[in-house]
């Protein structure tokens, strides 16, 4: 009798434990981005030099779109890499566009100066662009192909080599299967 009951309780408990153990084999935080391979949301942004840029006007070029803020530490970490990547590809048919989020204008300008950033940068004053792109933390980067489709999304700091590689893919219209993340640090 006792053995029967024992086996019965094991039969109930074991599957639950197995299920919990199964949890270790997957990454619960990974959420497949619905934006990949979709048309990028149109927007217009005023650059720090006063010019206006419309995303639609950049059709025909591969676009690297980066959301950042001067107060964000990982943004500082990636800033030099981004400028280096820009220097490598700026003569090709590719565009860099930085968008500062939830930032003060003078701080954002100081940031650009500090890192000698030469590619186009503007400010998302209302925060609407970030909402359209589903940005949940910065830095976050998007790669857009010449037809205006999002080909790759990267959450967190990104390296120069990855920027150029993914831009190359975007230029040839290759859509990544998954979004990427790097230098991911949980909020402590």
């Amino acid at each position: 009798m006792a053995w029967r009951r024992l086996i019965l309780s094991v039969l109930v408990i074991a599957p639950v434990l197995w299920l919990l153990a199964f949890g270790f084999t997957r990454d619960a935080r990974y959420i497949h981005s619905p934006l990949l391979a979709k048309q990028a949301a149109p927007f217009t942004v005023t650059l720090f030099d006063g010019r206006q840029v419309r995303l639609e006007d950049l059709r025909g070029k591969a676009v690297f779109l980066n959301f950042w803020a001067s107060w964000c530490t990982p943004c500082r970490a990636e800033a030099k890499d981004l400028e280096a990547a820009w220097q490598q590809i700026k003569d090709r048919n590719m565009v860099f566009l930085g968008v500062a989020l939830q930032d003060r204008e003078q701080d954002a300008r100081a940031f650009l100066q500090e890192f000698n950033i030469t590619y186009a940068n503007g400010r998302d004053e209302s925060g609407k662009i970030a909402v359209d792109y589903g940005v949940w933390g910065i830095p976050e980067s998007f790669f857009i192909d010449p037809q205006g489709r999002i080909t790759y999304k990267h959450v967190g700091g990104i390296r120069a080599s990855l920027v150029t590689a993914k831009l190359q893919e975007a230029a040839s219209g290759i859509v990544s299967a998954k979004e990427g993340k790097e230098d991911y640090q949980p909020i402590r």
Partner: protein, 653 residues
């Protein structure tokens, strides 16, 4: 130095815990009984050593000893002393130490209180404590060491997560841990009873107060967590059915069920296996909760660090479940021959139904929490389960529970006669139905809120009516007035009246939840200077933005003048805080409470400071304040139930 001291103390405590596990086993051999007495020494030395270790870490935090890694990540030179101390539980390693510390304080108290009583049982009770303690000490010593050193020693630390810099940091985590750890006491007595095969009511009677205290800490811990979420996180809610919240709430359900069903066992010697199972499940859920939050297997808005700790907790959970239920399976033969239910209309069956409802709620919440895992394991697709599922499934269950709360304490044991039902429930039913009618004609037309308010009224009326009858009897018997009569009643039957006061507290909480769930309104608008928005009876006018540099962050504050039905209520200033180490700004919502509703302001965005434009979100949430008042009423009721006010009933000795 501090680190070495702390780590050495932990390792020595771990060895003491191992002794505490082995001693009763050796002592159970004939002729070796003297080893039994070492179990208490083992607990005592763990108490001293763990206190030393906790003291060392607190000292390291206060003295900003940045050679300790944990100190670096949880404090800075600028951190006020208050938050340096609370840094002890600011992250995983320290939290485990706090848990272990509370556990060993509870164990020490048990060992001391029962030093002359329960001589045969105590070694086994203390052994269970030592097993649990050995696990935690092992984790602290070898897996997640808070005394790990760092080199080179940094000049300043990184500091606490800014969200943790709040006064509730002092209350919420320690209360919750005290609740979790408190459940170890009845669990330890239950396991000791199973090991010895002495399965009468002794273990329940011995742990009655402990269970009530643990239950209270658990309730308070969850409520303070809700309060924290409400006033700091700035989303206007207090409960999101997030896995981490569920993890803290789930042990509360079997603990509540246990609190009621043990009364049936005490009175009628029924439900023995059920009670043992409940307490095993409740204790397992405290381990499960830590596993869930620290393993990262379920995605949560609460970002906890994860690491190897998760798998260690899973192994311990497996051990606890298999060993406890294995023991229960072997002893079940001794648990036979219980009396059967006499009637479906009786207090036993009301309590039984209460248990079924609570366990069903536990099951549905557990299922919802791990469902993302289940669906991925079975179907390979990711799904997320959100508040709609939890609300729609648990609300009917909790309403049924409220109804039972009105019936259970008043209905007769064994078999309720028609007279008993009529005497206790006729007037409360009439009164609550009349109130329902009045509410319906006033403005409440939706079914669920109307049902909820009616049931709440029923509980209140039945408690008042019953107390009224008892007071009338006091006046007739002893000529006592209302106040004097109440004092006598409470002193004569502390547990009953303490319980009734707790029920009133629960009624207030449910009232707050029902009001804020059903009748909240919100509006969002972007306002220029002196522009306003109106919501309900409120008009809110924007008075400008202000930016200030604080020691740890830059703060942008919007000033809003609030008018309530034309009268000015003054200025409320929600803010956004920009921390250099954080990826996104942290909101500081503000609210103003009144008995009927809260107005809650969130600054969701702003233009340049000099342009003076702000996006404001306003929520009006009715009756929220009663949730927190209910918490205080529960605290009162708990005190009334456990404080030695009157004569202790003889069986409690």
């Amino acid at each position: 130095m501090t680190a070495t001291l702390g780590h050495t103390a932990i390792i020595m405590a771990f060895l003491a815990a191992l002794c505490g596990v082995v001693c009763p086993i050796v002592g159970s051999r004939p002729g070796l009984e003297r080893y039994f007495s070492f179990t208490r020494t083992a607990i005592l030395s763990q108490f001293v050593l763990v206190t030393l270790a906790a003291g060392a870490l607190i000292y390291g935090l206060i003295a900003t000893d940045f050679s300790i890694r944990y100190v670096v990540f949880n404090t800075t030179r600028g951190t006020p002393i208050y938050y340096r101390v609370t840094g002890l539980w600011g992250a995983l390693e320290g939290s485990l130490l706090l848990w272990e510390w509370i556990l060993i304080i509870f164990s020490g108290l048990v060992a001391w209180i029962y030093r002359h009583r329960q001589r045969e049982t105590m070694p086994w009770v203390l052994m269970v404590f030592s097993i649990v303690s050995a696990f935690f000490l092992g984790v602290i010593a070898f897996v997640s060491n808070p005394f790990e050193t760092i080199s080179p020693v940094p000049l300043d630390g990184r500091g606490l997560n800014p969200l943790l810099e709040d006064a509730n940091m002092m209350t919420h985590p320690p209360l919750l841990y005290a609740g979790f750890v408190g459940l170890t006491v009845p669990y330890a007595f239950a396991i000791a009873a199973l090991i010895r095969g002495k399965l009468d009511e002794a273990w329940i009677v011995a742990t009655r107060r402990w269970t009530i205290i643990a239950w209270f800490f658990l309730t308070a811990g969850n409520l303070v967590g809700a309060w924290w979420s409400y006033h700091v996180l700035g989303w206007g809610g207090y409960w999101a059915w997030d896995p981490v919240e569920n993890a803290a709430f789930m042990p509360w359900l079997p603990a509540t069920a246990f609190l009621h069903s043990v009364q049936v066992q005490e009175r009628r010697r029924m439900l023995k296996v059920w009670n043992l199972s409940l307490i095993i499940i409740a204790f397992s859920l405290t381990i499960f909760g830590t596993f869930l939050t620290r393993s990262g297997i379920i995605s949560s808005i609460h970002a906890f660090s994860s690491g190897p700790v998760g798998s260690v907790f899973l192994i311990f959970l497996a051990f606890v479940l298999l060993a406890s239920f294995g023991l229960l399976a072997f002893r079940a033969d001794l648990l036979k021959g219980q009396p059967e239910l006499d009637s479906m209309v009786s207090r036993e069956s009301a309590f039984l139904l209460n248990n079924i409802v609570l366990v069903s709620a536990l099951f549905t919440i557990f299922l919802g929490t791990i469902f993302p895992l289940l669906s991925e394991a079975v179907a390979g697709t990711q799904v997320s389960v959100g508040a709609p599922y939890f609300n729609s499934v648990t609300v009917p269950l909790f309403l049924l529970l409220v109804f039972l709360m009105g019936v259970g304490p008043m209905i007769a044991w064994r078999r309720a006669s028609w007279d008993n039902l009529k005497r206790n429930f006729l007037w409360p039913s009439v009164a609550s139905l009349s109130l329902a009618l009045a509410l319906f004609f006033w403005r409440i037309r939706d079914f669920l809120p109307l049902l909820g308010f009616t049931l709440l009224a029923f509980v209140v009326f039945s408690i008042l009516y019953d107390t009224g009858l008892a007071l009338r009897a006091r006046r007739r018997v002893a000529g006592e007035g209302i106040l004097r009569g109440l004092v006598t009643l409470c002193r004569r039957n502390q547990r009953r009246y303490g319980g009734l006061v707790v029920h009133l507290g629960v009624v207030l909480i449910v009232l707050g939840i029902a009001g804020s769930m059903g009748y909240s309104t919100e509006r969002e608008a972007t306002l220029g200077l002196k522009e306003h928005l109106s919501i309900g009876r409120y008009l809110i006018q924007f008075e400008g933005l202000k930016g200030t540099q604080q020691p740890t962050h830059f703060r942008v504050e919007g000033s809003f003048r609030v008018f309530h039905q034309g009268t000015e209520w003054g200025i409320l200033s929600p803010a956004l805080k920009f921390f250099p180490t954080q990826q996104s700004p942290i909101g500081r919502a503000v609210h103003r409470s009144s008995p009927s509703e809260d107005i809650y302001l969130i600054l969701s965005g702003f233009s340049d400071l000099n342009q003076n434009q702000a996006t404001l979100k306003v929520l009006v949430r009715p009756l929220v304040v009663w949730i927190w008042i209910g918490g205080f009423v529960i605290a009162l009721g708990t005190l009334l139930a456990i404080l030695p006010l009157g004569k202790a009933s003889p069986e409690e000795k």
